[in-house]
Every structure is written in structure tokens, then in C-alpha cells.
Amino acid sequence: MQVKVLLFASLKEQVGERSVSVYLPDAATVHDLLHALREQFPSLATRLNMARVAVNEEYVSPATLLHPGDEVALIPPVSGGAHV
């Protein structure tokens, strides 16, 4: 299956795109997705280690199964709220 992965902040800027597409076998997990992203974008490896993954707007664990049509996002450590 093909999964679209949303990128934000430094990840978006590094890749130059708001999202990337990754091809995964059926029944792939979030762990598999991260592995595929590291192969496809070696320059992101360090930042991928820091990021959490959200599926359909909820944080998920690496064991979570992905399904076609899922909205997947990489969430670097957040820094909103206030400057202080």
C-alpha cells in the first residue's frame, strides 16, 4: 500500500515538501514505516528518532498497524504554546 506521511517544521524544511509518499507491504506497522523513511531519506534519520508518529490525529506506538487511507504524520518534539 501507499501511505502519505505529513511533515512539519524542520522535517518539512529538510525535505522541501509538506508530505512524502512511502510504499509499504500490507499489514505494515508504524515501525516498518519509520524503517522505510530512514532508507528513503537518510538525512532525516536523526530527526526521525526524535519524532512521534500520529495516525488519524492520535499519537500511536511503533506496533500500530497501518491501513490504506490512514492520515500519518511525523511529529517532532513540539514547541508551541509560548516563547517563555
Binding site: L6, F8, A9, S10, K12, E13, Q14, R47, M50, A54, E57, Y59, A73, I75, P76, P77, V78, S79, G80, G81, A82, H83, V84
Partner: protein, 151 residues
């Protein structure tokens, strides 16, 4: 009201959203862009966000605050480019008593910095930096200067 705006935030809108006849205390937090950070002078900020998830997480914080403190809450957060002196976030919490209103408002700002997918980029004299991670949780926030790392 739990929203991300790309224009100036409205304190009045937050107040109207939380006031009710039983609320004797309203505590409001405003985050304002400072002219300095990490010992550097700062020209402005840019906020990036995963908007639908961020608004959902803000709403969840509001629901948690209602359950724990019986406080009605509203949160507005700016996205996009902000100049020094502009308001980046407004939190209003209204409760029957002041202790609850203070705790609820304080909790909201701390919780935003943990779970809400919003990120800021600092435009400082030493370059433009994505600040990833809360300065409240670590002394050394993870800062990422893409220009520098690509040189």
C-alpha cells in the same frame, strides 16, 4: 473555543467563550513574542502546525480541565509569522473559585508544550532556528538550523 488563527488573536473572543454566571474567577495567559531568546536578540517567530490535530488536542486539554477543575476554558494559538510584541497564544480559564482558575490556566500552557503539534522557528541574530522540544522540559532545547547544516 479551541482554534488556530493566522491573524491577530482576540482576547475578547476568549473571554466571551468562558464567562458564565457561576464563574467568579477568570485567569488569562498571554504568550507574547519577546525581543530576545537564548541570549540572542530575536526579530520574530514563525509557527508551523498540524492544524486539525492541534485543534483536537487543544479541545482535549479543555475537556480535561473541565473534568479536573470544573473550569471552562478557551485557547487560541497563532500560526504563521509573528513580530516581536505579538500574541502567540491566549488561554482563558473561568471557574467558580480563583485557585481552580489559576491551576487550570497554568496546566493548559504546560500541557500545550507537551502534546499539541505546533512548532516555532526563531528568527534571531545568529540565524533562523526551528525550536523542537520544550525549553520547560530540557535546559537544552533541540534546535535545528537547516541553513547551517546544509552549508
Amino acid at each position: 473555543m479551541f482554534e488556530l488563527w493566522d491573524k491577530a488573536l482576540s482576547l475578547d473572543a476568549c473571554l466571551r467563550a468562558v464567562q458564565h454566571a457561576g464563574a467568579g474567577a477568570v485567569v488569562i495567559f498571554l504568550g507574547v513574542v519577546r525581543n530576545n531568546s537564548r541570549g540572542q536578540s530575536v526579530n520574530g517567530l514563525e509557527y508551523d502546525a498540524y492544524k486539525p490535530m492541534a485543534e483536537r488536542k487543544l479541545r482535549e486539554i479543555g475537556e480535561e480541565i473541565d473534568r479536573r477543575w470544573g473550569a471552562k476554558c478557551a485557547i487560541l494559538h497563532r500560526v504563521g509569522r509573528l513580530a516581536v510584541g505579538e500574541v502567540s497564544v491566549i488561554i482563558a480559564a473561568a471557574a467558580p473559585h480563583r485557585a481552580d482558575a489559576f491551576e487550570a490556566c497554568r496546566y493548559a500552557i504546560e500541557r500545550i508544550k507537551e502534546v499539541v503539534p505546533i512548532w516555532k522557528k526563531e528568527f534571531a541574530e545568529d540565524g533562523a532556528w526551528w525550536i523542537e522540544g520544550s525549553t520547560a522540559l530540557t535546559d537544552k532545547p533541540l534546535i535545528v538550523n537547516l541553513q547551517a547544516s546544509q552549508r
